[in-house]
């Protein structure tokens, strides 16, 4: 008997995490009491050095793993089930993990079909999602024939097709060239729901997100509007981040005439 979709709690925050702890099988503590609150409609960037716990946090929010502590997504505990995609959409770092059907069209239709939509509604969603990421007409293409940027956009389309209230992306600009990065930024800017972006690329994150949360060592170390934090170079550097145009050409090359 199929459960009805979860009714969003009217005034609930989109994300509410309190004291989240998570330890991997081999003993490493990835999250050490993390607390975070995100209101519906916000666009938040999560930044931090490698190993800070960004990906782990996303896994806990998605319901794929469970830690100790309070986690609420759109007012309910996370659950990865048939209607999971409607609450929380997660775009992984590697698009090959999310494109597992022989054609792009089938990948995008996967979510809507699992939501038991009628075929004509599914076709509409597929067309809309492809259009939203600029890949109209790609239904019959195979994932292995796509470029890196196209694959990333197809993966985003596949998640968007589930119409998630909250969209989380793990390093969306990794391995993309400038053109593809711009395309992704454009897609994220148009997203209407709550946006969570885990990225070390503050340049691109800064174009999309209004709030920056810095994670380090499994906890939140700073949480302020993006503009404020980007100006604090010392804080950024202390946590393995960098922002700002350094217009020096080959500063370490002793032969460079540009010095």
């Amino acid at each position: 008997m199929r459960q009805p979709p979860p009714v969003p709690h009217a005034n609930a925050p989109a994300i509410e995490v309190a004291g989240l702890r998570f330890r991997y099988h081999d003993g490493t503590e990835a999250l050490k009491g993390l607390s975070l609150r995100v209101e519906p409609g916000e666009s938040v960037s999560l930044a931090g050095p490698n190993g800070a716990g960004k990906s782990t946090l996303f896994l806990c929010l998605s319901g794929l793993t469970t830690g100790d502590g309070m986690v609420r997504v759109a007012g309910d505990a996370p659950a990865a089930g048939a209607d999971a995609g409607r609450r929380f959409g997660l775009v992984f770092q590697d698009p090959d993990d999310q494109l597992f059907c022989p054609t792009v069209g089938e990948d995008i239709a996967f979510g809507p079909r699992n939501q038991k939509l009628r075929e004509d509604e599914v076709a509409k969603r597929v067309a809309e999602s492809l259009s939203a990421v600029g890949l109209s007409g790609f239904e019959a293409r195979s994932a292995h024939h796509l470029s890196g940027g196209e694959k990333k956009r197809a993966a985003i389309a596949a998640v968007l097709a589930c119409r998630p209230q909250i969209l989380a992306l793990d390093e969306p600009w990794a391995n993309l060239d400038a053109r593809a990065s711009r395309a992704v930024t454009g897609i994220l800017a148009k997203f209407g729901g709550t946006l969570l972006v885990a990225s070390q690329d503050l340049y691109h994150a800064g174009e999309v997100c209004e709030r920056l949360v810095i994670l380090d060592g499994g906890t939140v170390v700073a949480d302020r509007p993006m503009k404020d934090l980007l100006a604090d170079a010392a804080l950024l550097e202390a946590h393995g981040l960098e922002f700002g145009a350094r217009c020096s050409v080959c500063p370490h090359n002793k032969n460079s005439s540009a010095r």
Partner: protein
């Protein structure tokens, strides 16, 4: 990995492409069974079979060179297994270029070569006129177990990913001086393969997570079932008996 060749022509449009995948699968299998059950001595039959394939390729706008190129790939195995037969077959012999070759052996070699070539050419045509996901949907429609079809679909998708990773691992090893010359160095292949398996396992874990997050509950969702059209029915009903009649005629 050179995977372009698999799908190269499946997106074209032709009367053959427009046929239902189930019809094409049935006809292809039927044809192959016909070919393998024909004794090699009926050379005329094999000429006719080849002609049929050439005609189908033309109708499907698939270049013959492509089909022939795929077919030729199978010859090395034939050579390995059956090449020695004309020399060892025994029985009646015939003089060819100064060598005394066994007639029985020659027939076996010829039969095996012709049948394997035709078999591969038929499949090349089938795959070139039917996108793989349609072919799988067709097989599912013909009664193949859903789980097995789902597995084939996923395997096909990840084939390219894993072969790519395998080639990268191998290149990395070669770049570090891996030029194997003797058998015990197979251990290095083992380490590469072990690495590759862990990657494939972790890929499965991540893909599984992605599937769950988009609502996966054990079966891959299917599209609208295939529609059988008049053309498809006509083709099936005329082609199969025609092939049988052909087989009887040329025997």
């Amino acid at each position: 990995m050179e995977h372009g060749f698999l799908d190269k022509y499946s997106g074209l449009d032709s009367p053959v492409h427009r046929l239902d995948a189930r019809v094409k699968a049935i006809v292809a299998l039927f044809f192959i069974l016909l070919v393998v059950t024909t004794p090699p001595q009926h050379l005329l039959a094999f000429v006719v079979y080849s002609g049929l394939l050439v005609w189908t390729a033309a109708l499907a706008r698939v270049p013959l060179a492509f089909v022939a190129g795929r077919a030729v790939l199978v010859l090395p195995f034939s050579a390995l297994v059956a090449l020695g037969l004309p020399f060892l077959g025994g029985g009646e012999t015939v003089a060819v270029l100064g060598m005394s070759l066994s007639v029985k052996g020659l027939w076996v070699l010829a039969g095996a070569a012709m049948k394997s070539l035709l078999g591969v050419a038929t499949l090349a045509l089938l795959v070139s006129t039917t996108p793989f996901s349609s072919l799988l949907a067709g097989l599912r429609g013909l009664g193949a177990p859903t789980l097995f079809i789902d597995l084939l679909s996923l395997t096909y998708r990840y084939l390219f990913v894993l072969v790519g990773e395998a080639m990268r691992l191998r290149r990395a090893a070669v770049a570090r001086g891996y030029h194997p010359k003797w058998l015990p160095q197979a251990i290095i292949v083992g380490r590469l393969a072990g690495n590759l398996f862990v990657r494939s396992y972790e890929r499965a874990e991540r893909a599984y997570g992605a599937m769950l997050l988009r609502g996966y509950c054990g079966r891959m969702p299917t599209a609208r079932p295939l529609q059988f059209r008049m053309t498809d029915a006509v083709v099936l009903v005329t082609l199969l008996p025609a092939l049988i009649a052909l087989r009887i005629l040329v025997s």
